[in-house]
Symmetry: C2
Subunit: 373 residues, 2 copies
């Protein structure tokens, strides 16, 4: 019993942490409950029920299935579901007409032939990368509705009425769910993507700002400074590609809101994201230089040190400026200034090398800035 | 019209390519159609239909929804669906009992309170990372079934019979779909994961084998060799993490088959995968040396060249051996031999450096082998 209480406590602690990390999650759960309740009213209230019939339950199903965390995902699923139901329902009715021509015994055979062919084709269509990204869910609903309408038409008397009622209830369910999702504390996935991209650049900036000082401290005193966590932050940048792509796909469904207009160029975020990851790879290499505990075999001239620290610092500042300019959606002129500074320092460093003063494996340091610039 | 024909032709070409890339996709589409047809027989055949009733349609729905490309995904969804339906149905019946105590007017209020609370809690539960990985689908079905049973219980006379029939038809639908999926050309996702991991290591090996020769050719003659595509293969390794994690999650559902026993250590693949990616980052750095068109400022002593090429070649061979030993599931002793060779070469190179002969920024080259070893 004590063990049970302990694990329950652990669960509650974890739930609290998840809720605190992102309070929108709690609101979202309440919204999900609310939209199901609103839709279920259709079942309870007499005039509404009698006009829609038993199919009201499919409105409840719709509400449960299409409710998602973000507006983009909910809208995408809702539109997919409505269009697929419409198309598949119409096709199902057509097949039913065709099948009845072949008599009562031939009917199931004809229906099953069509169901088999169309289900197989639609399943295959789900593999196409472009369809998979945009209407994977819609294709599944298409197969589902088509099979249901076709198969039911064998026994159902008034299949047209049933299909129409289903379509109506599903549409109503979709609209209620979408309204709840948009009107009560909406979660815009486009905004999340925007912030994620900016945050990733900022992480790289934080690393570069701290890197210069850290490296030379290590090199000379052989001791890492106490707090090196800022040097690890960039590692999370590596694994965001599929997440970013998914978010950009969903963000396309969202209507204009706030600073994001309709037809916001979401692909640009993917470009920025992939540049950021290339940058992170270069930074990972720099970080390896710190981790490897290099033997200080020869003294570094203070001039070189100064230039290197300058490059790293200015690159870091430039990246942080870039990040905040993305966040605020303004063009920051100061970024160019920082990049200019770091380029001057890099040139100085180069001329030092050419004069044969000292060799150091730091040419990579400039790459990030140029990649982003 | 010519435009339409052209785009149709383009579509057909793309479909053919997708089919040729992986013929299992075509078989899979046919399997999906087949399982829907088998399930729909329940609806047509008289004795089966009369024993299950109208709820037979939910068997068709089940077949459409849980059919997935791999055995692991189908089994996971099927088990999730059956357990969730069972649990939610029982809970829904309990709530119905409780609600009837409060009279006809109070009933919908009590039901909706429960639906709201449980839907909100289950939605929140879907955020927990461990639940999300294993039973995200199950939780959704839980909300769905619970809402349906609870809400329907307001008007349905014999809700127990309905819930039981639904559960039965869903179970039958699940079993038929799973049987079709496993018995006809099964696609084991565990095997795919196994091959993916081995392939990724092989790609790195191919790169390293070719790298040594390519680098020095570039360096001395300033000309890249004609076919450099083998140097690009490793790039696809970067973005496989989320895919690997997903595959390992699904592979856990699969029963033992062929060389894969039950409780195969799927987590190990994730460890290998992340080591492979670290390795790929190091290799990306090496590749940058080729791309950067270095000015041949000083001659490389042939001794250094020999050792470097040796390191790269032996590392590459070791990785390829590793990859094929993973594929065949045997322990390859020759891998150690190659790593040993490359270590000897690296030691020789080091002693050359210490003797002050020549400095070169190639210490990274050894890292991959040690990381994998």
């Amino acid at each position: 019993l004590a063990l049970l209480a302990k694990s329950l406590l652990e669960l509650a602690r974890q739930a609290k942490k998840l809720g605190e990390d992102d309070p929108r999650r709690i609101i979202n759960s309440l919204k999900a409950g609310l939209s199901i309740i609103l839709v279920s009213l259709f079942y309870y209230v007499e005039p509404l029920y009698s006009s829609f019939g038993v199919n009201t339950t499919s409105a409840v199903m719709t509400a449960v299935v299409i409710f998602e965390f973000s507006v983009g995902a909910t809208l995408g699923k809702g539109v997919n579901k409505m269009l697929a139901t419409l198309g598949a329902g119409a096709l199902g009715l057509g097949v039913h007409r065709l099948a009845t021509l072949s008599g009562k015994t031939g009917e199931p055979v004809v229906i099953d032939l069509f169901v088999f062919a169309i289900a197989a084709m639609a399943t295959f269509a789900r593999i196409f990368p472009r369809l998979k990204a945009k209407c994977d869910y819609g294709l599944m609903i298409f197969i589902l509705t088509f099979s249901l309408v076709s198969v039911s038409s064998y026994r159902e008397e008034n299949i047209q009425k049933m299909a129409l009622e289903r379509l109506l209830t599903i549409t109503v369910g979709c609209f209620i769910t979408i309204l709840v999702n948009i009107c009560i504390c909406p979660v815009w996935i486009g905004e999340d993507l925007h912030n994620l991209v900016a945050l990733n650049i900022e992480k790289l900036g934080i690393f570069l700002q701290g890197f210069g000082g850290e490296y030379f401290e290590m090199y000379e005193e052989g001791l890492p400074s106490k707090d090196r966590s800022f040097l690890q932050g960039y590692k999370s940048v590596f694994n965001t590609q599929s997440r970013e792509e998914n978010m950009a796909n969903l963000a396309r469904w969202e209507p204009g809101h706030g600073r994001f207009r309709f037809r916001h160029p979401w692909e640009q975020y993917l470009t920025i994201g992939s540049l950021t990851r290339q940058c992170a790879i270069k930074i990972d290499v720099l970080n390896n230089y710190i981790d490897r505990q290099i033997q200080p075999s020869l003294e570094i001239p203070s001039q070189v040190k100064e230039h290197c620290t300058m490059i790293s610092l200015e690159c870091g500042k430039a990246l942080k400026e870039l990040s905040s300019s993305i966040r605020m959606m303004i063009r920051a002129e100061t970024t160019l200034l920082h990049i200019g500074n770091s380029k001057i320092a890099a040139e100085n460093l180069k001329s030092l090398f050419i004069s044969g003063l000292w060799k150091e494996a730091d040419p990579l340091e400039r790459a990030p800035a140029t990649a982003v610039a």
